[in-house]
């Protein structure tokens, strides 16, 4: 809602108007092959980038739903797609979990360093992020008086913990819990992937009392879960940025204009917007392209 966003939106709009007149996209520019991971938020960001580029005259080929990072990253490194939205924290963690920090821009720079060797550029990040969220049911929060993660240590023995299988060696999981004074591993623990459907169902169905979800995950709104405040700032910044292959950028007539378009779209995506759009797609079952287009229009990021 800020002035800064208006400026960014305005400058992109101006860019788009010039695009209509001569084109950010040259006639010889190659087709942009955009990929996404197989979940709503990645598809949504990929669609937003796709629509912005199409609006500027680029031809886009969508390859959405390419599994998760574990399958998509090799495909991207191989050059099967040119562009993909990525979370800068987890994306960095995929290559080196020890480098992750709580600052989005730092994570972006470190990810850019790791990816530079692989011929990949990291564009600008969204101000909004989808980070790890420690979540409990409303009833548990009321009963045990939980509002922040610091409240967990006193009641740790009463809770059944839903933790990701890689928690043991993950500093963001085991390390964070220990920072909050929780004895690791907890006595009662289920191994469930963070941010996934089963862990949310397990929490809602009373099979666990604590779950790691993603902060913009629609299940939180849907089931009325309580997100515990990360009062010690243990969780990494998970802002989103497009990753683009250098061999593709080299073929563009105007790579700077190309980046400006995408950075402009990223600049408007706050955490609140990300959460709201996620509910539109996952809970209200609306089409991703429709939600993405509506958001871009509301942001003034699409010409005519």
């Amino acid at each position: 809602m800020s002035f800064k966003r208006l400026v960014v939106a305005g400058s992109v709009f101006a860019l788009l108007i010039t695009a209509c007149g001569g084109g950010a996209a040259g006639t010889d520019d190659p087709t942009v092959r955009i990929g996404s991971d197989n979940f709503y938020e990645s598809r949504l960001m990929a669609e937003i980038y796709a629509l912005v580029l199409e609006d500027a005259g680029y031809t886009v080929e969508r390859s959405f739903g390419l599994g998760s990072r574990q399958e998509r990253a090799p495909a991207f490194e191989d050059g099967q797609i040119d562009l993909v939205p990525e979370y800068v924290g987890s994306g960095l963690g995929y290559y080196d979990a020890t480098q992750i920090t709580g600052d989005g821009e730092t994570n972006r720079e470190r990810l850019a360093t790791v990816l530079a060797d692989k011929g990949i550029t990291v564009f600008g990040i969204t101000p909004g992020e989808d980070t790890n969220a420690a979540v409990v049911r409303q009833a548990t929060a009321d009963e045990l008086g939980l509002s922040s993660m610091s409240d967990l240590a006193a009641v740790q023995a009463d809770l059944r913990w839903g933790l990701p299988p890689d928690c043991d060696e993950n500093p963001l999981c085991k390390g964070a819990l220990e920072q909050y004074g929780i004895t690791y591993p907890p006595a009662e623990r289920e191994s469930l992937a963070a941010c996934d459907v089963p862990i949310a169902e397990a929490l809602n169905g009373d099979a666990i009392d604590f779950a790691w979800l993603c902060s913009t995950q629609p299940a939180i709104v849907q089931y009325g879960f309580v997100v515990l405040e990360d009062d010690l700032d243990t969780q990494p910044a998970e802002n989103i940025a497009p990753l683009v292959r250098n061999d593709f950028l080299e073929q563009l007539s105007d790579a700077d204009a190309f980046q400006a378009l995408l950075d402009g779209a990223s600049a408007g995506m706050t955490t609140e917007e990300l959460t709201r759009l996620g509910v539109e797609v996952s809970v209200n079952q609306r089409e991703v392209d429709e939600v993405a287009r509506e958001w871009l229009e509301a942001q003034g990021l699409l010409g005519d």
């Binding site: 574990q70 290559y95 979990a97 289920e190 191994s191 089963p198 169902e201 666990i208």
Partner: protein, 249 residues
Amino acid sequence: MSEVIAWFSDPSNWQGSTGVPVRLWEHVWISAVSVAVATVIALPVGLYTGHTGRFAGVAINLANIGRAIPSYAVLVMVLPISLSLAPVLGYSPNLGLSFIPTFTAMVLLAIPPILVNAHAGLQAVDRDLIEAARAMGLKEREILGQVELPIAMTVIVGGFRTAVLNVIATATIGAIVSFGGLGRFIIDGRLRGVAGIPELISGAILVTVLAVTVDLLLGGLQRRITPDGVKIAEGQSFELPKPALSPAS
């Protein structure tokens, strides 16, 4: 590859509640229970439809629905139901989280081959033989037990083998709902990114070795329990050996 060898030679991967022996046991256990229950359901139905020829279309089509729904979909569909039934039926929510969805998906996976093979095995028995047995005064139950079953045994056990193989390979998905088993190495390894690839490959190797070993054992069993008169020697076509039926013998 050297990383996979390193994974297998790391003693910590063979110890405790997350080591290979425990995971192997969990995997064998869920597979055995699922196939056993599927057999109890599918075999009588298959034998009935195969012997009588009645309700065959209904039974086989119903069983094939199990084949058409991916096990992962079954898992995810059963999960909220089994969780919400826990307080109603009074079982532990943990059962509703991991065991019941995995078990249900595996039973639905094992039913079709057992049922269809039992049916097809009986249907393939020469009608003349059954008529002859009937003419000799054998009761229906005796025809099934003494004529049809021995001849169809190879095909029936073949269906059982297929079911076991499918279940061992697919029970890996139980790890998604925090069930143990060898799938843990695959699912957990995958979640660990690049660092988890050796674990993932090792898990896949373990599942393959288990599946092939069990299949070979069942293959031996299949040959052993097939009556001599029906045994198909290598290189021969599937025909009843003449001497066994010759009036002179």
